[in-house]
Symmetry: C2
Subunit: 662 residues, 2 copies
């Protein structure tokens, strides 16, 4: 058989499996797999470096299906290539509960799924982090150990989403020439022709962002092959716009939106089998085609073995460090750094903002942790995310450890996911807490993918003052605590801040978000404790004198208000205790006895947080007093705002005494 | 004095007021007002059509300060132009609590502030909606009545944010040639040089999106003037990239990031006064300069009077309709349409999805309400947002009433804000509920600006089934209910859906979000009620037989589960009642008696919602049972997912009986 004929068969295998999978599920998206089958075949059989038998090989090329709705393309390819945990049974169970073949690719469900995609734009933006991580890790370990590419298949939707702009701006600026995006330019969206909603010249647009950009016929293996080969030799990232026909092969649905997101239907599948000259039973792939695909699956095995030899040729320390970094394990001396910092803070408790305390913690931790990769979305002097000795990463200096993300919060978050998924790093990045809203789709994906990404979000309440309501978080703590598997920390002084960072670094399987103040706070953790108290989520910070009549629960900047309110209540002969609540999620994970003991059984519970009440009732009870915000903030000096909104020790005392008297 | 000399004085007045205002506040951003003073002077004195004495003139040009941190520029200009509610005292109270001159421009604080800006990218994206609204309203009422432009000043940050991509793609596609963006190309961001994080060729980028784009010297009044004049004659939207020096006039800080976001300082202000040859006291503007500015403030008065005559020359019905549309009042026949629909639904209660019920409601309401402007972010067949007779809006047909927003959720939301702010329309737009995360920064601004914008968000739970966790909202209801002044509706059947729409249309001062199901629901509102029961937020949908031992609270698709659970409990001899909770916010706004009566005093309260518990405790109590989600969803047929996650009538009954026995 000629190469060309072989290609057709191999591509049609993807088409057939995809349409069969969607038909069996009676749900899904055949259009992209059928349209991009030629591109995928060229990519996986001629270019992508991987070993189906060792899917976690650190130096493999990464493949990102940004258009996650085309998941049957990825599943089909993984099956054809011989990935062990993608059997034909898995394909038949497409979109069924508990299957590896979820509606959209889900990270962790099967080897070869490098990330979760589905929310459009996420994949292409995450790939920028992967490509960046590769260059930064390469700068540390050299070509012998780190030398791979990131390939992306993206759709119209990916390129229309705003996040794609942030992503390609970053990639172009950083000259990430190992990033190659293949754009499924099929001219069709759900509403109909792409021309209904868009007229962008994508090639020109990518060029404006500093990319190489070319157009090819997405059904010509030679054109695709040539374009990818050229892209591999480019000094810039490359966009390859592939003109394709959505649902290619379907006589009546190809080129139409009806091919996008619904099964072709039994009759059309018969017609498509005929048109493709693919007479095989559903899910059956003839031996010769399968054998060609399996060969492709092991094509890079020699490269993998050579890499292994090169790694083993490194000195022992380098090998150990590389392995540690890839495994994501912390170095032994991290624990010492933690305890040293906590001792220093206890000896001389500083009255500083928690954003400053975070900087102090990072000054202590960035040294023993060479894997941290810091940054800020253009708020470095405000977020305090850059510590001594962290050079800026640039296209001239991938050896840096600090990234100027620009005014691109969403792109930063996605790229941090990519850095974490790539491995070898713990990314952290800063912005104002209110702009968590910009990052939110990616924070959700950090949580869904269980990635160790640290969001450093300063200016966490009306305490930021004059910038006013657009910059003052009010609902953000609640809305972030709502995201499953995200640890939201709101430390109340420097020691708690250090403990939050310790947990964030130690937690392999969840992202952390630190909500930090702009304003200075009075420390309350003034004696050294080797134990990480924040790890319990909430704990009694100040005990009552005698039996507590009142329990005051607070987080972050409001702990000092609680401590002051306790003092005032004590003066009134009302014994009160203070519970610091730096992390709802960790507190909810404690056993019932511990939780009961912390909540206590005082007559009156009071929650204090410069934010809305939502979520607090689970701790303080729905009949408790809450002193916080009920609407948007205002512009003014922050002390006046606290007075104005009644978030003061005096207000706490008044309401508490009122309740005790009633 | 020559025109050129006059210009310098007028521009320096802005510079001086801005640096004085920031200095007095000891907080704020002098860099942009000083850098863009020449541009602003040219714009407001030679081009912008407005009347300082009639700031709400419907046919005025709109001015959008997308770079909201430069608020002192806008305040200074409004003061200089003679806007009544922007006195020198207001300027002196910049950033003080209760002042009109908030840190960032806040809509509603003073005339001339057309929208709230501050979150970068929002302004430019909102301006697209304003410019689109102008064209669509023009198509309805003609050049005599609607004929104005939208001008934007945008910064590097605005253009780096992803939303700017969605915005310019829309504007270019729709050929909104009355949109003119002046870009403050000062090469400086907070972290330092823009070159630290970006290399985008903005001119090429805008051209790729279908814009005209030119570069000018932002300190040359003639170049700016010429470019704006050309832009006014363009058939496409125009970007004018203005090369400027940030903090222009400050001898030691101009051109540096230190000029961006901090007061210049007393010494530097003295030096700047000298450099600008502006010897006047702080906040003092010499008479001649002021008089020139005041002339500019009334420059378009004749145009305004001519417009008034033209409006009065229209036939009475047109005048009435235009005035009604601009005031945002509903037509008299809306009430009939509501009652007719509710009668039809009561006569023949349909078992349909609430997304379908929403379509049914829109079919009834779009006819009497010509002001609705519908759309979807490329999910029209899923969101059911397009009703009969709604033509697509395109650059060839601004007379349409339906917008294909493309895969641009965030841009859609911003543009809807712009449409609402412009006046004459009630915009509604659809996407999946999970993608509320993409829209979130703009939903917050809808709420903060009190705009009547309706978000139609379908596929509102695991009930969407196979698309899996990336597409299944779990935390979204809670996180949206957290936003102040946003009404989140989750109707449980067709009648409730109709009532939600009625409230959304009638509420002038708040946005609404409808969370709607993909799956069909059994109706429970089967008898006609003229009253809008949803308006109470929650109400007893099914009474108990006898004294209720159990109160079952549910929203949306889970009301039918509650009804079934009640039936099963009745069978067990346990009287139960069902409370439908379609809107938390409206329920919280009811008086205490009503709330108490709805909550009741059964032994056991149960909340049922296919989402997380957060927020429910305020209604059901923190000791109540909650049947819902605790983590992310999964991919599979939806009935299986409900079983898998234990959100079933059987589970409700089991847990309830368990609690009653304990």
């Amino acid at each position: 058989m000629t190469d060309a004929a072989q290609h057709v068969w191999m591509a049609n295998a993807i088409r057939a499996l995809a349409m069969d999978g969607v038909q069996a599920a009676n749900s899904g998206h055949p259009g992209l797999p059928m349209g991009m089958a030629d591109v995928a075949t060229v990519l996986f059989t001629r270019h992508l470096k991987f070993d189906a038998a060792d899917p976690r090989w650190p130096d493999r090329d990464r493949f990102v299906l940004s258009a996650g709705h085309g998941s049957m393309m990825l599943y089909s390819v993984l099956h054809l290539l011989g990935y062990e945990d993608m059997t034909v049974e898995d394909l038949k169970r497409f979109r069924q509960l508990g299957s590896r073949t979820a509606g959209h690719p889900e990270y962790g469900y099967a080897a070869g799924i490098e990330l979760t995609t589905g929310p459009l734009g996420s994949g292409i933006a995450t790939s920028v982090g992967m490509a960046l991580a590769e260059r930064v890790l390469n700068a540390r370990f050299g070509d012998d150990v780190v030398d791979h590419r990131t390939y992306v298949i993206a759709s119209d939707g990916d390129l229309m989403e705003g996040i794609s702009h942030e992503a390609i701006g970053l990639a172009g600026h950083l000259k990430l020439n190992r990033l190659i995006v293949l754009y499924d330019d099929n001219g069709i969206t759900i509403d109909g022709s792409t021309a209904l909603s868009d007229s962008t010249d994508q090639v020109k647009r990518f060029e404006a962002a500093g990319w190489r950009a070319v157009r090819v016929d997405g059904h010509s293996p030679d054109e695709i092959d040539r374009a990818v080969t050229e892209a591999k030799n480019s000094d810039r990232p490359t966009l390859i716009a592939c003109r394709t026909v959505i649902g290619f092969g379907s006589p009546n649905k190809a080129g139409k939106s009806s091919a996008h997101g619904s099964p072709l239907g039994a009759d059309e599948i018969i017609a498509t089998r005929e048109a493709l000259k693919w007479p095989h039973e559903p899910f059956h792939v003839p031996n010769e085609v399968m054998s060609n695909w399996r060969d492709a699956g092991t094509r890079s095995r020699a490269l993998r073995d050579e890499w292994q030899s090169r790694l083993e040729g490194q000195d022992a320390a380098t090998q150990r460090e590389f392995t540690r970094r890839i495994k994501g394990e912390l170095p032994d001396n991290f624990e010492q750094a933690v305890q040293r910092l906590k001792q220093e803070l206890a000896e001389n408790p500083p009255k500083i903002a928690t954003r400053k305390a975070s900087e102090v913690a990072l000054e202590h931790f960035n040294l023993p942790l060479p894997e941290t990769l810091g940054g800020s979305a253009d708020l470095t002097p405000s977020n305090n995310t850059r510590t001594k000795g962290l050079d800026s990463v640039s296209s001239d200096h991938y050896g840096g450890r600090y990234i100027h993300w620009g005014i691109r919060e969403h792109g930063m978050a996605a790229a941090m996911n990519g850095i974490a998924l790539h491995g070898g790093f713990i990314p952290y990045g800063g912005t104002f807490l209110v702009f968590a809203d910009y990052c939110r789709p990616q924070i959700r994906l950090s949580a869904l993918m269980h990635q160790r990404v640290v969001y450093v979000m300063t200016h966490d309440s009306i305490g930021l003052g004059e910038d006013g309501p657009t910059h003052q978080p009010v609902e953000h703590l609640a809305s972030l605590r709502a995201i499953p598997n995200l640890m939201v920390f709101r430390p109340g002084d420097a020691t708690e801040t250090a403990e939050c960072w310790e947990i964030a670094f130690r937690t392999h399987n969840a992202p952390s978000l630190l909500a930090l103040t702009r304003q200075n706070l009075t420390p309350f953790r003034v004696t050294y404790s080797g134990e990480n108290l924040v790890a319990r989520g909430a704990y009694e910070a100040v005990a009552a004198e005698g039996e507590a009549q009142v329990s005051l629960f607070a987080s972050g900047s409001e702990v000092e208000i609680a401590v002051e309110a306790k003092r005032l209540l004590d003066e009134q002969g009302v014994p009160a205790r203070v519970v610091s609540v730096p992390c709802f999620e960790l507190f909810a994970a404690q056993d019932a006895d511990y939780r009961r003991s912390v909540i206590g059984n005082a007559k009156v519970n009071v929650g204090i947080e410069a934010a809305i009440r939502q979520g607090w009732d689970a701790i303080i009870g729905s009949d408790a007093i809450f002193v916080g915000m009920t609407g948007f903030g205002a512009s003014g000096p922050y002390e006046e705002l606290y007075e104005h909104f009644g978030i003061t020790a005096k207000a706490v005392v008044e309401q508490t005494l009122g309740r005790l008297r009633s």
